[in-house]
């Protein structure tokens, strides 16, 4: 059994149904989908019991009918992408900064770009957007169209 498969089976064994989907895409790439409630436990398990220390980044995705928050963890060269499903009507998720401190900036980014509330995050100010950015405008949401951003942020184009 390869290292990748071993990791997947470990996760399945530990979390059972709370892992919605787990697949090895190719060498050194694993995608795991978890329920929002299990998200932090999975990260904690990976950190404490498997020995994952490095989070490369956290991708937020607006998948039209829900949001996804995907931390990409790195373990012995394997990228483990843990996908948490976040419903649109209640966009919030637990922070993982207390488990992996390196996630600080990435969670901020998810917050400002998608408007997902990160519960327990120590400092949810803007990371990249300017301070006078319009309240409630989350540029990477799919319902925010590029034309609207142009109109609101910079002047007409030639």
């Amino acid at each position: 059994m390869t290292l990748e498969e071993e990791l997947v089976s470990k996760l399945k064994e530990r979390f059972g149904d709370r892992i919605l989907e787990a697949k090895v895409q190719r060498a050194r790439r694993i995608f795991v989908t978890v329920d929002r409630s299990a998200y932090k436990d999975v990260i904690r398990f990976l950190r404490n019991d498997v020995g994952v220390t490095h989070v490369s980044t956290i991708s937020g995705v607006d998948a039209i009918d829900h949001f996804e928050v995907i931390p990409h963890l790195s373990y012995k060269g394997i990228v483990v992408s843990v996908r948490a499903i976040v419903p649109k009507d209640k966009p919030e998720i637990d922070t993982i900064t207390d488990v992996i401190p390196g996630a600080l900036f990435y969670e901020k980014e998810v917050h400002e770009m998608f408007g997902i509330d990160i519960k327990g995050h120590p400092d949810l100010t803007h990371l990249e957007l300017p301070d006078d950015w319009p309240e409630g405008l989350y540029p990477l949401r799919k319902d925010v169209k590029l034309e609207e951003l142009f109109r609101r942020i910079t002047k007409e184009r030639d």
């Binding site: 300017p130 590029l146 910079t154 002047k155 030639d158």
Partner: protein, 145 residues
């Protein structure tokens, strides 16, 4: 040509301002100062204070956040002053046309005298741009006097 015009053409001091460039043009501007190209030959000096500068070299698409500071630097420069836009993203936002946080060209913010096209332009092309700017200056003077 008067003494002053002669001096002006031979002592262009430049100030470099990055308005959100990808660094590509910046390293080429810096490279133009280093031994291979050595723009000091033309009397060009890179200065740090807007008060000492004759030419403002701007690189990068103008991002929303930088607009105010750019205007302030421009206002601080003493007359006569010139602006040179280096790189196509400075001229017209180039590859960043679809980015919401940039202006479509430097001339939306401050007047521009010469554009150096390229992405990034070679240091030679930047020198060429300076030469063009000086030519423009010469003509301006010729017309006036």
């Amino acid at each position: 040509m008067g003494l002053v015009d002669w001096a002006r053409l031979r002592s262009p001091w430049v100030l470099h301002f990055n308005t959100g460039a990808c660094n590509g043009c910046d390293i080429e501007v810096v490279a133009a100062l280093t031994p291979r190209y050595d723009v000091e030959r033309f009397g060009i000096r890179l200065v740090g204070s807007p008060r000492h500068a004759d030419i403002l070299i701007v690189t990068g698409p103008v991002t929303k956040q930088v607009e105010k500071r750019l205007k302030r630097v421009y206002e601080q420069m003493p007359e006569p002053k010139f602006v040179m836009a280096v790189g196509n993203c400075c001229a017209s936002s180039g590859a960043f046309r679809n980015c919401y946080n940039v202006y479509p060209g430097l001339d939306n913010v401050i007047p521009v005298d010469v554009y150096v096209m390229g992405c990034p332009p070679k240091p030679e092309a930047i020198i060429n741009g300076v030469v063009k700017l000086l030519e423009k200056l010469k003509k301006l003077k010729g017309g006036a006097s």
